[in-house]
Symmetry: C2
Subunit: 213 residues, 2 copies
């Protein structure tokens, strides 16, 4: 992996196992584009919160959306600093020693402040979201009507201040443990498609459903 | 699902789509026990952060652990309020209208303050962690030695103040959209095992590896 040596800010500089860190946009984009969900942390008068929500990327921004009345959306739209984190778990790493057990993962942490997507841009941005879920679907589903669009807030955060952290590969045991008679290796995990569940019977099954698994 | 009508605190009361909320310990335990990873949000002088980390449950607590020097661990051990969130994505819900697209998921949000697990309890608690990953493994891998145990901080948070939020089932379209000629249904997702990757060749393959997929 091609990794930049320097973090974009002090708070994004990875300190623990720093060789797992990356600060390249290409790596970040791949992690974000593989995600359907992110976790958004923010702080209000009730404390610090961590809320999962759908996300997608277009260009240099990560987008989230929600009902105008959602606490997450209201707080994130208020101009406060938020932290958006995406994590893909890729496997359990079983080492010969308990201490060196680990996990394989790809994660990204993004800091910043959200900006509101202007009303006139909302239809295009939400269409792009739908295309990330199912290519071609934005031409098939009924588009949002003015009332639905008005009820929805779309926010975006610039992909400027971020850090990626990933682990791949097998266990890293201490030299003196290498001959212990213990199975060591990786038990991989993958977020995998399962057979589609149609809501009714359909004459036309779109490609993104037919090819789902 | 059997759901309690009342949230344990004002900040855990789910407001949006409140019928998806649950405040029962049984439901929480199932969500936590299905997770290998949680996201921990906390706030320090650099802002609000959201960090993924391994987690497990024993009884009435969720546990995390890490190097003594980890920022997450140091901050979480300091007695500040944190928020721990677990999210399982179960599928993409494709509705006839763009607006009603959704996701199926099981999520839990836990608020509280961590307490440090005393040194003398660490070996047992870390053994329990290993058993949640692979049953029987704690008797096979080399246990932590005093130096490794001393380098590791184990924290726990009581499962007292929490909310679960889940969505299951198919799309919920508006009545007037039901006859649109658009495929609707669920594209399920599951964090699935992939074939184990041994680090060497082994005469003895434990059950948790042999049965991995």
């Amino acid at each position: 992996m091609d990794m930049k040596a320097t973090a974009p800010s002090e708070r994004t500089r990875v300190r623990r196992v720093a060789e797992r860190a990356g600060y390249e946009r290409e790596q970040l984009n791949a992690i974000v584009d593989a995600a359907h969900v992110c976790h958004v942390a923010f702080t209000d008068e009730r404390g610090t919160h961590c809320i999962p929500t759908a996300c997608w990327r277009e260009g240099d921004h990560l987008y989230i959306h929600g009902s105008n009345g959602s606490r997450l959306i209201k707080q994130a739209a208020s101009g406060m600093q938020i932290c958006v984190t995406i994590t893909h778990l890729d496997g359990l790493v079983l080492a010969r020693s308990a201490f060196h057990h680990s996990m394989n993962y790809r994660s990204a942490i993004i800091y910043g402040v959200c900006e509101r997507v202007p009303d006139e841009q909302k239809p295009a941005v939400l269409r792009a979201f739908m295309e990330t879920i199912a290519r071609g679907r934005s031409r098939e589903a009924r588009p949002g009507n003015p009332k639905e669009l008005a009820a929805t807030t779309v926010l975006r955060i610039a992909l400027d201040e971020f850090a990626c952290k990933t682990r791949t590969g097998g266990p890293k045991d201490d030299e003196e443990d290498m001959n212990l008679p213990v199975w060591a290796g990786v038990l991989p995990l993958e977020l995998a498609p399962r057979p589609a569940v149609p809501d009714a019977s359909y004459d036309h099954v779109p490609d993104y459903v037919a090819n789902w698994r």
